[in-house]
């Protein structure tokens, strides 16, 4: 019974995260301004990180956690660098 509950809870969460990823991808392709696209890219990073966390919970493997942490790190660095570039015209100011 508990295995059944965990299986379907994880499956539902994965379905929701995948749909959210698709929504963010549509906004990424369609977004009218560059800020919209950066925000959508950030949302895609977050959603894929949550997918990896749920997969690690489902398969009880510890490796997924490290991958999720790395994705969160790179997502923040990428989004912050892109937003800084839009703001000032260069990423690292002299």
């Amino acid at each position: 019974m508990s295995a059944f509950l965990l299986y379907w809870g994880a499956a539902f969460a994965l379905l929701c995260f995948t749909l959210g990823l698709a929504c963010a991808a549509i906004r990424l392709m369609r977004g009218p301004s560059a800020e919209d696209r950066i925000l959508a890219l950030d949302t895609m990073y977050i959603n894929s990180m949550l997918i990896l966390l749920v997969l690690g919970l489902r398969f009880e493997a510890g490796l997924y956690f490290d991958v999720a942490l790395l994705i969160a790190l790179f997502g923040f660095v990428g989004s912050a660098a892109l937003a800084k570039f839009l703001l000032r015209g260069e990423v690292i100011e002299p």
């Binding site: 295995a3 509950l5 539902f12 994965l14 963010a24 906004r27 959603n47 923040f76 912050a80």
Partner: protein, 106 residues
């Protein structure tokens, strides 16, 4: 997985379902809201509450399965709480500047 008691399985699956719904609502808001200033607010729900629920369920499950407290999922939650305002502030500043530079509002 069979070692998990039934109340813990109920709690973990309920938390996972809540996290999925909240994140889906946030991403749908990103898709459907009209102006950028409204769209800015939608995905923060998935960043904070979705990651919080997933981290809580992973903590409950791992702690019960291995019979010792395990907290490393909270690193990701803490990291998101620390870093998502930075990105939001930079994006909002750049949106304000570029819109005032191009001369049209909204």
């Amino acid at each position: 997985m069979n070692a998990l008691p039934i109340w813990a399985a109920l709690l973990v699956s309920a938390l996972l379902i809540v996290a999925g719904l909240v994140t889906l609502v946030g991403s749908l808001g990103l898709l459907r809201l009209r102006t950028f200033r409204e769209r800015m607010h939608a995905p923060t729900m998935g960043m904070t509450l979705g990651a919080f629920c997933v981290a809580l369920s992973a903590t409950i499950m791992a702690s019960l399965l291995q019979h010792r407290p395990i907290f490393h999922e909270w690193l990701i939650s803490l990291f998101l709480i620390l870093t998502s305002p930075v990105t939001a502030i930079l994006l909002m500043q750049s949106a304000r500047q570029r819109r005032s530079r191009s001369g049209k509002d909204s």
